[in-house]
């Protein structure tokens, strides 16, 4: 379970790229039920320029659709007895801007003491989520963005994590 994971996107326009970052990635991996569930409050993303943030929030329509979320399951095994970095794959659904698409993601899990670190990245095409790439002085932002997440997952009981759902 994490509530302070790191998530970033990297976007580019010709001759320039910029990164949006958040340290509010929330999520869990339930190995017993084989469930992966992560979400990010998109309002916590920052690119370093507040006016650009405002344009980004408008594009994402964060008032109506505040979260980007992924729910799925691991399709590869994870050896809890190993401290090695292990490549894993997950299949599930990614939802953003009210649009849900199937998404297969590869990443790495590594056990470090009680914690498990997670790293994953994938390419997101914003047009798949009915988002129009914003333009900067008539130069359109690339519709493909690199997404990267990185976090440390702490052990929690199922009831504690899910709030008694």
């Amino acid at each position: 379970m994490t509530q302070s994971g790191y998530a970033e996107f990297k976007s580019s326009v010709p001759l320039h790229s910029f990164t949006g970052e958040s340290n509010n990635l929330t999520g869990m991996i339930d190995f017993h039920e084989n469930v992966i569930d992560f979400y990010l409050d998109l309002n916590t993303l920052r690119t370093g320029i507040d006016r650009r943030d405002r344009d980004m929030f408008r594009t994402l329509d964060v008032d109506e659709h505040p979260f980007a979320e992924y729910t799925g399951e691991l399709t590869s095994s994870f050896d809890h007895d190993s401290d090695e970095k292990q490549r894993v794959t997950a299949v599930g659904e990614f939802t953003m801007h009210g649009i849900t698409r199937d998404l297969e993601v590869s990443g790495y899990l590594q056990k470090q003491g009680d914690q498990i670190t997670l790293e994953a990245e994938w390419i997101l095409n914003i047009k798949d989520y009915e988002l129009e790439p914003p333009s900067i002085l008539f130069v359109e932002v690339d519709e493909e963005m690199e997404i990267r997440i990185e976090t440390e997952l702490e052990p929690r009981s199922r009831d504690e994590t899910l709030g008694g759902n």
């Binding site: 910029f18 990164t19 970052e21 509010n24 929330t26 999520g27 869990m28 339930d30 039920e33 469930v35 569930d37 979400y39 409050d41 309002n43 916590t44 690119t47 370093g48 320029i49 507040d50 006016r51 650009r52 943030d53 405002r54 344009d55 408008r58 659709h65 505040p66 979260f67 979320e69 729910t71 659904e93 939802t95 849900t100 914003p134 333009s135 900067i136 002085l137 994590t161 899910l162 709030g163 759902n165």
Partner: protein, 310 residues
């Protein structure tokens, strides 16, 4: 945000008993298996909401965005500052008086006082930069520090920033010694954004190492800057800079009205202003025009932030 799973399990979307008055036995024989199927599917369908974390918004207490749209309104610095690692470039132009008429293309033929300025953010609260303007070929260096940032929850109700700068007149053949070319400036900027309206008060002091005649070597002023957001892309702003106490002969309080345009990458400010000078100390010292008497000129500023820190 409602996920697909939540929507499927929402009681509002659960199948309900259907009563169809007057329906025949044949229709009932068709509906009964359908209802049974729905009930069975509902019972066996896994409730995926149990597997999901409850979605909760992050409560933040962050600085209010866009109290002003640019680091300089027309001639007066604003509380706006840069995020760490960012570079702001500004190009400012003021032309001749509009009342020069069509023969002078309403002042555009009279030459521009152009100022170029670069500021770099060393931290999220402190930026430093260098600039130069045409008149007197003044080169200035300075910095701005944000002591307080107005927050979204109101835990800090105002913005408070200080600015300090030093200018040097680099005009050749003036006969001035180096120290006589120097001027100093400092101001305190207090601002608050009320929804779409922002107000800034800026007490300031300027010192000139060399003055002409009986002009005082220190000038005190109070800059008043307002900004009103018409839309996300357009804002009207105004500034007024009265000088208090002793002032230079034949000078008047400066005034400007501006239209701010956000193009998605640049902030353009198109304005009418009484003063052709840039930098508050030179505006206080040299403005001889009265806005409300028709002594105003066209000008425009272009501001661009480069996010080189990320």
């Amino acid at each position: 945000m409602r996920t697909v799973y939540e929507t499927l399990c929402d009681p509002a979307h659960m199948p309900k008993p259907v009563i169809i008055p007057g329906a025949g036995r044949f229709m009932r024989s068709l509906l009964a298996p359908g209802l049974l199927l729905v009930i069975v599917l509902t019972l066996v369908m896994p409730d995926r909401t149990e597997a999901q974390l409850p979605r909760e918004r992050v409560e933040t207490d962050e600085p209010v965005d866009n109290v002003f749209w640019a680091m300089t309104n027309v001639g007066i610095s604003t509380v706006r500052n840069l995020s760490k690692g960012n570079l702001n470039s500004s190009v400012l132009h003021t032309f001749g008086l509009v009342d020069r008429g069509i023969e002078h293309l309403y002042g555009l033929d009279d030459g521009a006082n152009t100022r170029i300025r670069l500021d770099y953010a060393i931290s999220d609260r402190f930026s430093a930069g260098v600039g130069r303007m045409t008149f007197n070929k003044v080169v200035d260096i300075g910095g701005k520090y944000n002591i307080l940032r107005q927050t979204t929850t109101g835990s800090i109700p105002v913005e408070l920033a200080v600015k300090a700068s030093m200018g040097i007149n680099t005009m050749p053949n003036t006969g001035y010694r180096f120290s006589e070319r120097l001027s100093y400036f400092t101001s305190v900027m207090i601002a608050r954004k009320f929804n779409s309206f922002s107000l800034q008060l800026t007490p300031m002091i300027a010192h000139f190492n060399r003055t002409v005649g009986d002009n005082p070597d220190q000038l005190f002023g109070l800059g008043i800057v307002t900004n009103y957001e018409l839309t996300d892309r357009l804002a009207l702003s105004a500034e007024y800079l009265p000088v208090f106490g002793d002032r230079n002969a034949n000078t008047h309080d400066a005034m400007a009205l501006a239209l701010n345009i956000d193009t998605g990458g640049h902030i353009f400010q198109i304005f009418f202003t009484s003063s052709q000078w840039h930098n508050e100390e030179f505006i206080m010292a040299n403005n001889r025009d009265r806005f409300w008497k028709g002594d105003f000129r066209f000008g425009f500023n272009i501001h661009r932030v480069f996010g080189i820190g990320r």
